[in-house]
Amino acid sequence: MQPVDIILGLISCILTIMVLSYLVGDNPLFRIAVYIFVGVSAGYVGAVALYQVILPKVIMPLVDSPLENLPVLLVPILLSLLLLMKMFPRISWLGSASMAFMVGVSAAVAIAGALIGTIIPQFIAAIAPFGLEDSTGIGSIVENFAEGTIMLLGTVTTLAYFHFGVKSSASGTGSTNPVMRILGLIGQFFIAVTFGVLFTGAYAAVVSALIGRLYFIWSYILSFF
């Protein structure tokens, strides 16, 4: 094992233990590790942003052929400069234009993502299993139909459970009608099941991380023998 790896492993092990010390309680060791980590990750992201976005997307084109690229890049550069004003509280209001632009575009991205990405495709997917003629593979027609029905029930009731509006009553609390309550109950079941599965998945993920850490420490110790 080369010295570099030894140092690397050593630092990693120490930091791992420092972080895990949080299990005992908040303590300086944990703090140190965390602050180092925050600093490093921020610096790293900054470097990446500079090297893999600013340079190739802005600087390089201007260096290569300023004349033809400048007009194209004029607006983004202007917006970027305004955005940088946000660093200075006194003139930070200058940057608001850039923020408004970002917010507007990102809102559009979110809307498009929700519609094109989820709502319509999921609608198609939800009714797909009922196309019995094109049921394929192991899924026999009956199986497809049963599965499709349960999926449909789950999707519908889950959506129904989240219904916010209630008939407004004097108390202001509103009252849900029995049908809604039943749908909601079924929906709750599906939601709970989904969460249960997701929870175990999350546990699997974090436990894998724990195992990975322990394994790393152990193999590092072993590497000296």
């Binding site: 990693s12 607006v75 809102a107 989240f162 974090v206």
Partner: protein, 210 residues
């Protein structure tokens, strides 16, 4: 002055948003498509620039913290590593061996260890859940979790739990769970849609104003 800015900020946000939307939904209209691509590229650049604003923010917050003795040490640590890593990346490039070293020796272990911390939190949560909320959802949740736990991994040194691993888990994970997930997914999508629209209506103006 502020009045003007507020007004025009909203205009900027709405116009840019609507243009991008049209670009998405009217692929037949080249103008909108080009504009959308252009706007998204600008957004890309701005997002990168925002990283530096964020770094500056981090920096200023912690330089202020230097004033009070208690946390000064930590802040110093953060600032040192922030600047160190950044300068290293500046001169060596983010994919240089040096940066890889920093990444492997600091970022990976700390992040994975933070993840590992969650293992205990989650177990702690499961043991307490029924104590706080012994309602229909919680009970269903716990039972499902138990089933999936039993079905996902075999009992140590013994092997998979028959029925659970080969029949129950796949069914639950692929039918009811997927159904619920789809339902929630759709709900979230609807919420996202509405939130986006509120922004495009200028009703929510996080960029200042309201």
């Amino acid at each position: 002055m502020r009045i003007i800015t507020t007004f025009f900020l909203a205009i900027i946000a709405i116009v840019s948003g609507v243009v991008v939307l049209l670009g998405y939904f009217l692929p037949g209209v080249p103008l909108f498509v080009t504009l959308r691509v252009a706007f998204l590229n600008w957004l890309m650049i701005l997002a990168a620039v925002a990283v530096f604003v964020g770094i500056a923010n981090l920096f200023s917050v912690h330089t202020q913290k230097l004033k009070n003795k208690k946390e000064a040490a930590y802040s110093v640590l953060l600032l040192v590593f922030l600047l160190g890593t950044f300068t290293l990346g500046l001169f060596q490039g983010p994919t240089s061996p040096a940066m890889d070293f920093v990444f492997l020796s600091i970022q990976i272990p700390v992040e994975t260890s933070l993840m590992a911390l969650l293992a205990v939190s989650l177990l702690y949560a499961t043991i307490r859940l029924l104590r706080w909320r012994a309602n229909f959802m919680s009970i269903t949740f716990i039972i499902t979790a138990l089933i999936i736990f039993l079905g996902t991994a075999p009992l140590p040194f013994l092997g998979p739990v028959p029925f659970f691993s080969d029949w129950l888990r796949p069914i639950i994970a692929q039918v009811p769970a997927a159904a619920g997930a789809r339902g929630i997914l759709l709900g979230v999508a609807l919420g996202t849609l509405m939130t986006g629209l509120r922004i495009l209506f200028g009703a929510d103006r996080p960029y200042g104003g309201k």
